[in-house]
Symmetry: C2
Subunit: 341 residues, 2 copies
């Protein structure tokens, strides 16, 4: 059932039917009622492609997922972010189109997205320091919102981010207040912007309290269970091992726990651990009482908000660049405690 057919059954012109459905004023109230009713009865849905062709807008948003050629890792926060963003899109009648591409092809993908008119805007995932995509997308002219920030970016851009620096600074202070002096950082890969900020917060807190950051106590790796395990094991093997750790993700935290266990250490007593908790739906940090003490911020909520920002940007393209900085909570779980004598 298409517009023309529907119009014919109503004995109206396609024009009028289109207007009635589109909510335009110049159509008789009674006529509109008839049209709306018929549309519902016949289960009429305008063909998206046709609308897109006619209006030039595609009513779709793109998410480009770069797959690094070297380490083929899909970002674990991805599913939840998408779930959040998807809710917003559905409500607004937008489609979400996903492109999984080798990171070497990313530029070409964005260009195609634009020249083929596939999407009206994109969300940029996992920004690095000086992320080239910001200049690229600005150049191409696709509206975009970044999930995270890109230290060093010259151009203005829209972003939503967690205050990673502050979160890690607070976490570090919290451990210092508990008496810890040897604190390790198990960070993500430090070309990622969020990891840079976390380290900054971490060292800032140490220095502010008169402690000296020790390179041996700072690891920077992929956030997997195994690398968390390895990094922590290595630190525990040091002559002067840490008594507390800040770990960049729930998953590495689990690896850290395994390493501690291997050494017969009990979390919260022999070794304090704070993780960052993205509130992933399938990897909750405990349900009633948190397993780990954590800096917490919902990535799903970030997805929701990022999508809102993008839709708003698409609707009013020359609104001033908007930023949102979400604060993480520090929640106290069972994995931290005062320094063991």
């Amino acid at each position: 059932m298409n517009l023309k057919e529907l119009a014919r059954t109503l004995d109206l012109s396609p024009t009028t039917v289109s207007r009635a459905l589109g909510g335009y004023p110049e159509v008789n109230a009674e006529t509109r009622a008839r049209v709306v009713d018929a549309a519902r009865r016949h289960n009429y849905r305008p063909n998206t492609r046709a609308i897109q062709l006619a209006t030039g807008r595609s009513m779709a948003v793109g998410h480009v997922i770069p797959i690094a050629a070297r380490h083929e890792i899909v970002n674990p926060i991805f599913a939840d972010f998408i779930a959040g963003a998807g809710e917003t899109y559905s409500r607004a009648g937008y489609d979400m189109v996903m492109s999984v591409v080798p990171d070497t092809d990313e530029a070409r993908t964005y260009r195609e997205l634009k020249s083929r008119g596939t999407v009206d805007g994109v969300i940029v995932h996992g920004p690095t320091a000086n992320d080239p995509r910001i200049a690229l997308l600005t150049d191409i002219g696709i509206p975009f919102v970044v999930h995270g920030r890109a230290t060093g970016a010259e151009l203005p851009y829209r972003w939503i981010d967690v205050n990673n620096r502050r979160a890690f600074q607070r976490a570090t202070e919290f451990l210092i207040d508990l008496g810890h002096r040897r604190i390790g950082l198990i960070n993500g890969l430090e070309f990622m912007d969020f990891a840079i900020r976390r380290r900054t917060g971490f060292t800032a807190a140490l220095i502010a309290r008169g402690l000296v950051p020790d390179p041996d106590l700072m690891a920077s790796e992929e956030m997997t269970e195994s690398s968390g395990y390895r990094a922590v094991r290595a630190m525990l093997d040091l002559p002067d091992p840490p008594t507390a750790l800040i770990v960049s993700s729930m998953i590495s935290g689990i690896g850290a726990r395994r390493a501690a266990q291997d050494r017969g250490l009990i979390l919260g007593r022999d070794l304090s651990v704070i993780i960052h908790d993205d509130e992933l739906s399938y990897l909750k940090n405990g349900d009633t009482v948190p397993i780990f003490t954590a800096t917490r911020s919902s990535v799903r909520e970030a997805g929701r908000q990022a999508a809102e920002m993008l839709l708003h940007l698409i609707a009013t393209p020359d609104s001033p660049p908007e930023h949102r900085l979400l604060e993480a909570e520090l929640i106290i779980g069972q994995s931290t405690g005062p320094r063991h004598p």
Copy 2:
């Protein structure tokens, strides 16, 4: 730059240009070379929407992600499956469109996908027993491939699945061979088809070896860390606790490990654990030596193959229903060992 413009600069008709680019035979080789060259130089990409309108095919595939109203869980295997499928789509020039919808709205979503012409086919995720979507999609007439199977479905349909029954049967036999007699099953929710099959394999193995399945040793819950933890704790508290466990996912397995640790049990010595490992990129079961003994099958590969099957189905709609059953490997890690005396 669109077709018409390109045609004008070449002093050809849009028809000829279209044909030249489309690889149709009835165009002079030299002309074609000119056209192709110009297209590349001007960076011409045909507008997807227009193609779709003209041809009726949308060159897009849909993935509908139901968000259960009750437990808002995004399937953790989702990201990796998508990554696999996405690779296939990219290569074939297909877009992937994702809809995140409350599971109560799923039917409406599929209907819209069809009536608006958004996609040429869909992948069905997470089938349950007697999954209503199979009848629905058959009725609507959208080509689809199911990731998993739906016990009890009347109609023929395409699917790709892991041999869950066999995998769990083998895992159980393996434990029995190690001398275990009290074996627990920490399963996923048993309205999910895969969970049903796993349980079947589990009990079949017990019975075949003359053991009696004990309801107290069979848990069925969401596959989260916390529920794995709770379930295992409960089992360990039994008067006659299990000496071995089969756990439906890496994540619940981690919860199981925590429960064991709480009781001072060492995996592989005091308690044997086998998990099912989907080879999630961000949650690898160890890198060199596996952490857990596991039944292993790559969900990413499943994604790749599911996408292939769907594209094939779209291309030749009345090919006979195809099925693929992937066998899981049993890999031996450090979490299993002979029954402790």
